[in-house]
């Protein structure tokens, strides 16, 4: 009996997934674009001290020290970059992706252009929607966060981080695009490095920011479809030199 109940549940889940996928396809109507349904996770950690240390190190071009083992520290090691959990793991930058996949079960998608379909936008803040995106030989972390910067007024913040150094991140441009109800919103920027910490990017507001009313206009049945594209930025230093 339990077996049949579970089977029925799985079939219902599949139908729901298929329906979400169809909706995202309709919104973006781009044949061949991969649509990824991303379910929300309640954020369990907000550890600003760790982030502040990581950011200070990143700005100085040093890999950040781990706050768990401050006495003896290998500068080649980075702490876990998962924005969801205060995780004691540390390792080399090259193995961060496999740690995020295996320990935090964050999905990874391939392709230059994908659609990120965040479900259950109505859930109370703080909530995160996270995937990894593999593209142009690198891995990126896409974070959509619902957070109350001003009490009682939740906002949505979306950003893309390179799982790499700030110098590597400077070689790319990412684009987030919302398109629905005869409205279109595009945000283009250089991704930050995960060493700079997603929490500080969001608290600085240097990302795509949506008020609840705008998020509702772009949502379809409680789900928000975000088109994502990553390109290499050829002239990224031109403006900085001016």
């Amino acid at each position: 009996m339990l077996f049949f109940t579970q089977c029925f549940g799985a079939v219902l889940d599949l139908i729901h997934l298929r329906f979400q996928h169809y909706k995202a396809k309709r919104v973006f109507s781009a044949a061949g674009q991969l649509v990824c349904v991303v379910n929300p996770t309640h954020s369990l950690k907000y550890a600003p001290t760790r982030c502040a240390a990581a950011q200070a190190s990143a700005e100085q071009g040093i890999l950040p020290p781990c706050h768990h083992h401050e006495a003896v520290h290998d500068p080649q090691l980075v702490p876990c970059t998962c924005p969801l959990f205060s995780c004691p793991w540390e390792g080399h930058l090259e193995v961060v992706v496999s740690h995020l996949r295996q320990t935090h079960r964050i999905n990874i998608l391939q392709g230059a252009e994908i659609v990120f379909l965040a479900t259950d936008m109505h859930l109370p803040a703080p909530t995160d929607w996270i995937i990894m995106h593999s593209c142009l030989g690198h891995q990126f972390l896409l974070v959509l966060r619902k957070q109350e910067k001003y009490e009682g007024h939740p906002q949505f913040f979306a950003t893309m981080m390179l799982i790499g150094t700030p110098t590597q991140a400077d070689n790319f441009t990412y684009r987030l695009e919302l398109n629905r109800n005869q409205r279109r919103l595009k945000w283009e920027a250089t991704p930050r490095s995960v060493l700079e910490c997603v929490d500080s990017v969001i608290s600085d507001g240097d990302c795509l920011v949506l008020n609840t009313s705008l998020a509702q206009l772009f949502s379809d049945n409680g789900s928000l479809a975000i088109g994502i594209a990553i390109t290499t930025s050829k002239v990224h230093n031109a403006e900085a030199e001016m």
Copy 2:
């Protein structure tokens, strides 16, 4: 002596204008694009009752009644659409533009693509930056407003309204673009009709919304350059029919 002082002031103003113009040109680097320096104005009116009435009428396809003469009212007349002042003027839609130019001294610019350069972004809310834009045989009103929706947290709201009916407005798409510091933000939407009232568009948040931190990232020396383009929308009903 007074004559020389005034002359010197005028020359300084011209130099300042030229400098602002040069800055906006550099940001957008599009030869031939008209740059308009727009100075801020403190908003003197917030009259939600008038707006609510105007919007309700617009939704029903009727020209809005004037709250100043409710007893005897000509339905062909519309109240003044200037978002700055509670103005007792009313007249036909065709003469709204000349009223706005003559009485409220709002500038009008020609061209399919222009750059709106709002100065003194640091001024406290509520503040408005307003111009009219003549394009494709119609006139549009561009409003940038700094307003505190949440006390102590001013935000910037930018929208474009057609000086015409909602049915006429459905034929156009407007685009607002910010581009600076390796970041780009684009908002595209169908303009609203001025009969729908700019205050309600902004309170609904159905426009380009910028937090102070993002506005600072896009500003240059206290001025914000917004690229504006208007096109005719051919497939504007396709999505609505789905």
